[in-house]
């Protein structure tokens, strides 16, 4: 698993290659360098690439292990990791547990394989977009490789309006002045513990929706809080989930005392995808 090979097919990313030249000069404690990554999906994609196989053939199990090892290292070193990374760890741990246990007949949720497929799809899509960006910037570009007339003799006026302004100009002007006028001295207190609702929002962004019954809570707790905060985290998560149930955005199920709490997004009446027929 050498790094040089993975570097070659990643032209846009010089982020971690910089550090390569000086491996292990001295002994000291390690730093987890998470700065070079654009979020957990990006980190996962990078790890997947080190498997040096087509994304369609990566081993999700190995990938999960790599990721979790990475996070554990970081935690052992008591580094502050952004919540995104921790929530992803929780989800991956959950995914792994699903992959290990054969699907139970009464388990209505997505199977581990389905979840893994979604993850794989998202990694592939992200990689595709990244490659597309590289191809785009390497095209002949106006003002760099290809040029327009240097001494234009006229401007063709299409709309016969003497004045010009773009929507961007307009919005900038509006936002800037409203901001100027507003008293903007709001301090947002840093949360010590974050709610299940927050976790859910992060998950949705990273993984897609929690469409089916999911017993995420204890994974979230394990990964996202320090041991001493666990009690408060349980309390606030649970409170948050009840609140979401009351708002009608979440459903909760527990099969017996002390058994896992299952959550899923509450399906509103199916939304038709056509023209806004859902008023």
């Amino acid at each position: 698993m050498s790094t040089t090979a993975s570097k070659a097919d990643v032209p846009m990313e010089r982020l971690w290659s910089d550090e390569e030249e000086k491996p292990g000069i001295s002994e000291p404690s390690l730093v987890v360098d998470v700065d070079g990554f654009e979020g957990p999906l990006d980190l996962l994609l990078h790890l997947a690439r080190t498997q040096k196989v087509d994304l369609a053939r990566i081993s999700i199990g190995a990938l999960v292990d790599q990721y979790i090892l990475f996070i554990e290292q970081a935690r052992r070193m008591r580094l502050e990791l952004a919540a995104d990374y921790l929530v992803m760890a929780a989800w991956l741990a959950y995914l792994k547990s699903k992959l290990l246990i054969p699907k139970q007949p009464d388990d209505e949720g997505e199977s581990g394989e389905e979840m893994a497929a979604v993850l794989q799809f998202r990694l592939k899509r992200l990689e595709a977009m990244r490659d597309a960006a590289a191809r785009l910037v390497n095209r002949n570009r106006l003002g760099r490789d290809v040029f327009a007339r240097g001494m234009p003799e006229m401007v063709i006026i299409e709309k016969h309006n003497e004045y010009t302004a773009t929507l961007y100009d307009l919005l900038t002007a509006y936002a800037a002045q409203r901001q100027r006028q507003a008293v903007s001295t709001v301090q947002i207190a840093k949360r010590g513990v974050w709610s299940l609702k927050q976790a859910r929002e992060l998950l949705t962004r990273m993984i897609g929706e929690v469409r089916d019954w999911t017993a995420l809570d204890h994974f979230l707790l394990r990964w996202t809080t320090k041991p001493e905060q666990r009690a408060t985290a349980i309390a606030s998560s649970f409170a948050a989930s009840l609140e979401m149930v009351r708002d009608g955005t979440l459903e909760v199920r527990q099969d017996g005392a002390f058994s896992p709490i299952y959550l899923r997004e509450r399906r509103s009446d199916p939304i038709r995808t056509g023209e806004g027929a859902d008023e």
Binding site: E19, S59, G61, D65, Q73, F121, D145, A148, T204
Partner: protein, 240 residues
């Protein structure tokens, strides 16, 4: 750009049409279109051309003829959406680079967002974030709006009516694309289902190995050392 070695003579060797008489009207219209487009730094729409060319001129035909005449010259006539512009030939980039204006370099994140907008448009901010799996930092979209490459297109007709983003003709012009269909690799991406918001039904579900913890033949076990080697764990400098 075509790169068939044979560089050619000026506007036309006369051989092929020495005898054919083109209707003078067309010839004159071609000259006029040439003058108008040449005079403008930004692309001139076919509509604007139609207003200026003699009545009855077939704008499309005129412009295509003009494009043909400039095909192998140092300056080419290119199409940008429904407008036309003269641009220096792509193969002369090496010669022109010295005129290049220093352009603001886009961050990797901004480039990624730009390509997602280009390939997935119309796309909402939430959808962009879903593709990238990370919140778009403040200023990224702002910067892209400022370049004039992206714009707010409208609103999605779903609850909440989120604003959708798309690219502009300035984007096409900048990257030398006639239209969005010319985005590199777009057909393959679409075919592979990678431009959809949801995983398409036909997307292959991976067959997990029977023992998914067992390493496959081409895998090595992971050790701390690997992570270090990957630069994920970097040795801390002594003196900081």
């Amino acid at each position: 750009m075509n790169d068939t070695g044979a560089k050619i003579i000026p506007f036309d060797k006369e051989g092929d049409h020495g005898n054919v008489v083109f209707h003078t009207d067309i010839l004159e219209a071609v000259r006029m279109a040439e003058a108008i487009i040449f005079a403008s730094a930004s692309p001139v729409s076919e509509k604007a051309l139609a207003e200026r060319l003699p009545e009855g001129a077939q704008v499309r035909e005129v412009v295509l003829e003009l494009q043909r005449q400039y095909e192998r010259r140092g300056v080419n006539l290119v199409r940008v959406a429904d407008a036309w512009a003269f641009r220096t030939a792509g193969d002369l980039a090496f010669l022109m680079s010295r005129d290049a204006v220093q352009q603001k370099k886009l961050s990797r994140a901004a480039l990624e967002v730009l390509s997602i907008i280009a390939y997935h448009q119309p796309v909402t901010r939430a959808e962009i974030e879903e593709v990238r799996g990370v919140e778009t930092s403040k200023g990224t979209i702002d910067t892209l709006l400022e370049t004039g490459w992206i714009r707010m297109r409208g609103r999605r007709k779903t609850p909440g009516r989120p604003v959708t983003y798309g690219t502009t003709d300035v984007f096409l012009d900048h990257f030398g694309l006639e239209e969005l269909r010319d985005l590199p690799g777009i057909d393959e991406l679409k075919g592979a289902g990678l431009l959809s918001a949801r995983m398409p039904a036909n997307f292959a579900i991976p067959q997990p190995p029977v023992d998914h913890d067992a390493l496959t033949d081409d895998e090595d076990p992971l050790e701390d050392l690997d992570l270090e080697g990957l630069g994920l764990l970097t040795p801390r400098a002594m003196d900081d």
